[in-house]
């Protein structure tokens, strides 16, 4: 199976975010970065499929020069080669432009399966995989929790709301967006890092940067607000009202 995994470099979760001067994106000049979490699971799933069914795993990232470090990390974990669609503008591009850049890099290679993470930890649109499938002319399925290769296609498990799951089948080629926690991530190894040095990272410049379909107007921190509500009545009544609020308003219990 020839598998492509699209991965993104995002700001680490522990980074204390700040908004940039134009207030349209985070200040990322001095941030530290890491591999987007769901993408790490997508890569792991691809490596497991390859181990079972043989084939090739190619990682692809559309991002600025610094993104090459996540590609190297993916190679160290076992990907066979990498494609880097390099452009500074891709650091905060919208889903449409990113999917376009990825599609151009992947199209000619005729992959059987394309995996992406469910969403990126920064913008969180959850759209790149879906738009990419459309551009590559492949069927897709999202929020995948399990993948089984079957005669002629795939059987996959999707996560629905409220603890429900759905099984469905797709023909190949196909694209899946992978949910975090689908598998157990392997650790990088010294041998893997040494082997990665000899693997190829092919640089591609996006031909004509696709014009974005969206424009970021402004970002801001959630406003902090404290609301205190007193629940009147006897302890029993108040407790009942509290449970109802937790279930229906806060939705923290079922």
């Amino acid at each position: 199976m020839k598998i492509a995994v699209c991965i993104k470099q995002v700001v680490t979760r522990e980074w204390q975010l700040r908004v940039n001067d134009s207030k349209t994106w985070i200040r990322d000049q001095d941030a530290s970065f890491e591999l987007n979490e769901p993408d790490a699971y997508a890569l792991e799933e691809a490596l497991r499929l390859k181990e079972k069914h043989s084939g090739e795993v190619v990682v692809c990232s559309a991002g600025p020069a610094r993104a090459s470090s996540v590609l190297r990390e993916a190679l160290a974990r076992g990907a066979d080669r990498a494609i880097h669609v390099e452009a500074d503008a891709l650091a905060s591009a919208d889903a449409f432009a990113v999917a376009d850049a990825l599609a151009a890099a992947l199209r000619d290679e005729k992959f059987d399966l394309v995996l992406t993470g469910l969403q990126s930890d920064d913008q969180g649109f959850g759209q790149v995989g879906v738009v990419l499938a459309e551009k590559l002319g492949m069927p897709h399925a999202t929020i995948i929790m399990e993948v089984k290769a079957e005669e002629g296609g795939l059987r996959v498990k999707r996560e629905l709301e409220g603890g429900w799951f759905q099984w469905m089948t797709l023909p190949l080629p196909a694209l899946l967006t992978i949910q975090s926690g689908i598998n157990q991530l392997r650790y990088a190894t010294l041998k893997g890092i040494m082997a990665a040095k000899k693997k190829e990272i092919r640089k591609v410049t996006p031909s004509a940067a696709a014009s974005p379909a969206q424009k970021m107007l402004a970002i801001h921190f959630p406003e902090k607000g404290k609301k205190t509500q007193m629940l009147p009545g006897s302890p029993a009544e108040a407790a009942k009202a509290l449970v109802q609020k937790l279930r229906e308003d806060a939705r923290v219990i079922q």
């Binding site: 890491e34 190894t189 010294l190 041998k191």
Partner: protein, 559 residues
């Protein structure tokens, strides 16, 4: 102990460097240079670093004395060394609670002209790029957990096993550590390095030396209005918030674009068991001198790290069969100048030269590696450290004697009536509550000298830890091993009032209700910023810091 299970891999290299700080990176670069200069069969070199990416565990002031850099990388400017600013203004103040008294002259060794203010995180990242460009294997995210021996000879290290859950069981992703075997292992594992500590004990390398004395540096990176302080300004203070009995002082270094490093270094040989270095740092920032510079700014990073301050007489034997020790791991730091970077780089280079010759000569015995000591003795390292050899020790007699001595030592070349000065290990200085407070025993769960926390200028430890970027995989055994937690509940609570809850700058140690009216120790290991203070300062010496799973720890971007 060293018997490998069947699935443990082995890697063989000529020279292994443990720790990718200034010492380790300099050693790697120097080896690559010697290789090019002298030709011959290509040496295989590897560097092991515990942080997720190079430089991530680097925290320093930092004012860099560029002497070693100039020798190691003469074209450092062309190569784009990230030197934030040259030092232009140099001030030393003695602080009282509300006032400042400038020192009339800056004594020559403390002058910083020609030095650079840097972010050591950026600097080490830059060095890492040069190291990788030489084709050297730089493994970040791989802590070395133990040394491998053949009798008394060091033959390499074992990296930490990955994928063990918090109960000690192997997870499905378990990845056994790798045995890296090397002709020479250069330990650059920094202050209180876990491997150096084990080696020094096992081979008694500190025999006849004074015990090391440490200090804890707590630092924040701030962004203040751009025109507030001229880039290149260096300020050091003594006195408040520390008292006469405590050693240390503050630093404030201004970089371009309103970026400011501010920190407090406090000696880990204080007497008062209730002393809390983090609170002292909050007091420091509230001093008018500091407050006037930070006001209206924003704290953007936080971190802490210990420094070895004992100086020349505390440096252990830094060579043995198959192994060399460089940088802070060996105690090469000039506490009077608050500078260790250039000495780390220099000793890393000298260790590399020794390791190179030894490997070429096919003799990596202690007798051959002893040449490292000769190289050190003939270098600026000794010239610099020997002249200030009794400085911190003299401060263990208090601030005034310390100051007098530091002043005198500039005249006498470091000579003292009793040379070396006798000194106890830092933790032995801590007094018991009863001895320090007599009948006025304080409530040990409440700060004796609290600081007002406003989350603008001053912060509580937990908020601060969020700004250190610290992260550890949650499901792993605690990497802080307290060999006897019973002591915490009983003796320590009574005698010292659990000082770990105060000296740890990351709120790792907490005494929580045990449910029976007593308190028990809770270890929040995932907060740990790897400063090593607990391993150093615990009065019963029952805490061992061991490396956590690879990549865990702080993320000191820009520090």
């Amino acid at each position: 102990m060293n018997g490998p299970p069947a699935d443990r891999e082995t890697l063989e290299v000529d020279v292994l460097i443990v720790g990718g700080g200034p010492a380790g990176m300099s050693a790697a670069l120097r080896l690559a240079q010697l290789q090019k200069e002298k030709g011959g069969e290509q040496l295989s070199i590897a560097v092991l670093e515990k942080s997720r990416e190079p430089g991530a565990h680097m925290l320093s002031g930092a004012v860099l004395d560029p002497s070693a850099l100039k020798d190691l990388i003469p074209d450092f400017k062309e190569k784009g060394a990230p030197l934030a600013s040259e030092v232009h203004h140099d001030h030393i103040y003695f602080l009282t609670k509300n006032s400042k008294f400038p020192f009339p002259i800056t004594p020559p060794p403390l002058r910083n002209h020609g030095n650079y203010i840097i972010s050591v995180n950026r600097f080490v990242k830059w060095m890492a790029g040069l190291v990788e460009a030489e084709g050297i294997d730089l493994f970040s995210g791989f802590p070395a957990s133990e040394l491998l021996y053949d009798g008394a000879r060091v033959v390499g290290v074992r990296t930490r096993d990955q994928g063990i859950d918090k109960h000690g069981a192997k997870k499905s992703t378990f990845e056994p550590g790798v045995d890296i075997r090397a002709n020479v292992t250069i330990l650059c594992d920094g202050v209180r390095g876990n491997l150096t500590k084990a080696l020094v004990r096992r081979l008694a390398l500190d025999e006849g030396r004074l015990p090391q004395i440490y200090a804890l540096g707590i630092k924040e990176l701030w962004e203040v209005p751009k025109d507030r302080i001229a880039a290149g300004t260096v300020i050091h203070t003594m006195g408040y918030p520390l008292r006469m009995e405590e050693f240390g002082g503050c630093f404030l270094y201004a970089m371009p674009d309103g970026l400011v490093s501010v920190g407090l270094v406090s000696g880990l040989d204080y007497r008062d068991p209730m002393f809390d270095p983090h609170i002292a740092f909050q007091h420091a920032k509230q001093h008018p001198l500091m407050e006037s510079m930070l006001r209206g700014g924003q704290m953007v990073r936080y971190g802490a790290k210990a420094l070895p301050e004992g100086g020349w007489h505390t440096i252990p034997r830094v060579y043995a069969d198959g192994v060399l020790i460089a940088g802070d791991a060996g105690g090469f730091l000039n506490s009077m100048r608050l500078k260790g970077l250039h000495l780390a780089m220099r000793t890393g280079m000298l260790a590399a030269e020794t390791a190179f010759d030894a490997t070429r000569a096919n003799d990596t015995s202690s007798a051959q590696l002893r040449k490292y000591e000769d190289r050190i003795n003939n270098s600026d390292v000794r010239r610099e450290l020997y002249s200030v050899r009794n400085v911190h020790q003299s401060f263990s007699y208090g601030l005034l004697p310390g100051l007098m001595y530091s002043g005198l030592s500039l005249v006498t070349g470091g000579w003292w009536v009793r040379d070396p000065m006798p000194v106890k290990a830092g933790y032995e200085h801590m007094a018991k509550l009863a001895d320090y407070y007599g009948d006025n025993r304080p409530d040990v769960d409440v700060a004796v000298r609290p600081a007002k926390i406003d989350r603008k200028l001053t912060f509580d430890k937990l908020t601060n830890v969020h700004f250190s970027g610290t992260r550890h995989a949650e499901d792993q055994p605690s990497h802080l091993i307290v060999h006897d937690t019973d002591i915490c509940r009983t003796r320590c609570r009574e005698e010292y009032g659990n000082p770990c809850t105060r000296f740890c700058p990351a709120n790792v140690y907490e005494m929580v209700d045990a449910g029976d009216g007593t308190k028990k120790l809770q270890i929040n290991a995932s907060n740990c910023v790897h400063c090593k203070t607990c391993d150093i300062m615990d009065p019963y010496q029952v805490i061992d810091w061991v490396p956590p799973e690879g990549g865990g720890g702080p993320q000191y971007e820009g520090m």
